[in-house]
Symmetry: C2
Subunit: 514 residues, 2 copies
Amino acid sequence: MNGAESLVRTLVAGGVEVCFTNPGTSEMHFVAALDRVEGMACALFLFEGGATGAADGYARMADKPASTLLHLGPGLANGLANLHNARRARSMMVNIVGEHATYHRQYDAPLTSDIEALAGTVSAWTRTGTSAAEIGRDGAAAIAAARTAPGGIATLILPADTAWEPGGGIAPVPAIPERARAADDAVRQAAEALASGEPALLFLGDRAVRGEGKRIAARIAAKTGAKLMAMQANARIDRGAGSVPIERLPYPIDQAIAALAPYRRVILVGATRPVGFFAYPGKPSVLTHEEAETLTLATPEEDQIEALERLAEAVGAPAELALPAVPRPTLPGSGRLEDDAIGQVLGALIPEGAVICDESLTTGRNFFAATHGAAPHSWLQLSGGSIGVGIPLATGAALAARDRKVVNLQADGSALYTAQALWTQARERLDVVTLIWSNRAYAILRGELANVGALNPGPKALGMLTLDDPPVDWVSLARGYGVEARRVETLAAFIDVFRHALAQRGPFLIEVAL
Amino acid sequence: MNGAESLVRTLVAGGVEVCFTNPGTSEMHFVAALDRVEGMACALFLFEGGATGAADGYARMADKPASTLLHLGPGLANGLANLHNARRARSMMVNIVGEHATYHRQYDAPLTSDIEALAGTVSAWTRTGTSAAEIGRDGAAAIAAARTAPGGIATLILPADTAWEPGGGIAPVPAIPERARAADDAVRQAAEALASGEPALLFLGDRAVRGEGKRIAARIAAKTGAKLMAMQANARIDRGAGSVPIERLPYPIDQAIAALAPYRRVILVGATRPVGFFAYPGKPSVLTHEEAETLTLATPEEDQIEALERLAEAVGAPAELALPAVPRPTLPGSGRLEDDAIGQVLGALIPEGAVICDESLTTGRNFFAATHGAAPHSWLQLSGGSIGVGIPLATGAALAARDRKVVNLQADGSALYTAQALWTQARERLDVVTLIWSNRAYAILRGELANVGALNPGPKALGMLTLDDPPVDWVSLARGYGVEARRVETLAAFIDVFRHALAQRGPFLIEVAL
């Protein structure tokens, strides 16, 4: 077998089952090898940002890496923004990036660029293959790197000759270290902080916001009076009826500072220190109270569940906890088609087991609170602030969880970054309902313009934040990509069409006029 | 004035008249400054790849830099693929990339990334601003860097506090060195090569393929018997009736090798050495005959026109030359809607002064030869092999040349990378006709799959090269972005609708069914 086939066989043997791709000439041997080898499904995207965002969504739901196949530096560049998000989500991923043959690079052909420099900005592990005989081993090392806690992006650059020359066979994946155990001192100090009498917060991220982590944290809170809060952006929160309701740190900086103001002890559990999403003149970078002490119970690299269990034991938390009953919202009977009513509809209609991919931004600020009592579901967020993740994320999540309904809550400006991924939803017959919040503006930036102190914007500035000339017609766009779509302009029509979309299978887009 | 305003005023004073942008929070002070300052038009794009590709098209037609305004690392990343193309076209450009405030970077907020590493892969000049007092001077240095021959990308990273703190005023642009003069030895050696009796080729690129360069080269050829050929991809060739017809190096490697095989002296004039676009098993990287000697008359950095003049004098070329009369093609009366007929239609209907933005790829291999006798026009190509440049390029060219009709010859697979730029065409009422070659495949890759020796592809490989499930409906897509569109399926309908599109003003898209 050639190098490409040894790499594909190594990936399949290592548990990588899907390849998200937009390939080019330099990847043709890998493509040909995918043809010959069983066990790796291929999902084609019209743009690499779709492929990388989908690989992120897949990893968040499957808890294992998919591969991507990208075309040299520009193909990787097109995927970088969603790789940035995946890096912040700590998603496992193995990128295969084609490169000119080793002997051809020196000639600086038009597509030559510094792929390693690009890869380095998002990858926990980067390697350029040097020979076909070694490329299988390189692939196995990439899998191991991607799977090493807390999970990360491994990028293997594949020169064309390392793909077409005779390869070295299937390589076994090296042993993957278990998640590190949090230090005993960290548990002791957290317990002391909780016993200090000062108002305390357990600030949760990473695996600590899945169901089990929240349950243990709630037991600790019940005993100690500490409060719970999740990070502003989380890769995946499992929530809804039967799980612990937990609020997130708000995005707007003044609200975030206010939310953290009561606490003098902030204990990080899989979370990073709460800092401003942006800097603003005259406002702090660190959002905790200036007298607050911040401690780390467990880093994202460490076993947060096990650390929480030890902390629960240290503080004498109860073994069981009755969850507060959060009633499922009922459908609003009447009213305008606006944020609060939409949140209520989501709370009432989110189906059991749904995966919610949330890139709602301004429109969705209240959706999380409105859905604590919804049927059990997973909630995936924009994790790195790089807009354009929602449609790809939903696509990948649907491929990882074909038996679960995926609902993509999607701001319109962000959706326009990577709308091409709708085509892949149609191609793969994925069960995704996309709700486009069509306010025809970069609404978040209107607020930010004021936040940075730039008041009274003129027509040129406002023009750069407005998408209504011409208005984007989402029904036409979706149909262009082969996805059925409807526009709704009233609350009753929204409920009606959303119910219809949930009841059928396959991709469906609803443009919600706001 | 604050730093942002000092930067905007410096750019305007330095002749930068347009800003191609998709801004974010960290750029809000720059946006606010654009509002207050006269002289900088703003063109909003729904995706940064549109903005950077448009800045490239603008630079190719205006011969001066535009600015872009991009949102931190991810915004730059989204623009990188077309920046790669712009780098290969040697287009002048000043990128302003927002960044977190200098003091905020250390907190690793979600959008933090290594912007300098990204910028370095495409920029001739990169600098991160350190203070508002200096940011105007940084901007002036960026303009000088962009304008220094042969033209390049200057990237200024703008931390938010260097935008909002008090600035240092308008800075003058440093003196820009003139293009270097080619060495006397280079002229002498080229003259000797032309006198050697060996078959010789003048291989032209950069400014040497504009009208004047080609005319001088043709005079040299008339005297010496040398042949002329342009690079495979050229930033801009001015051509059509009244100019010297010149073929380009073919893209397919076997054809390229055959085209260069006759020559034993290859003289580079603004061109780079002809090498394989990709490496292929068993085929050479350097495409010239193995006994050919390659010389450089003038590098892209040097004054190619002046060097050609000296060479013409050295060989005793005639002062004037009657151009061969290339008849304008007539419209085909009947036949199928296929490549050759389309080329004939283009030759007949390209309007005088048109700007042709060509990302036709496989479909358009014969278009260039078919249009030597068309009305005078400029022809802009995909210069760096990173697909998705056509629609943005046409958008920027139209903004630079509002009195010229722009015709975008556009492969469908590539168009799907950056179709959002159609919206900017509608927003800016740009006079662009987009012809989509709708073959619903990555046709180029089907050939490449065979070229790399991967014969008999199976369904999985073919599936990755095929875009017909579902078929992309370009009329719906264009309308979604506010652009009028029609699909044509016969030659007669194509001629009819293309004529209509040329006769009206404003953006129009024709999906040409192949």
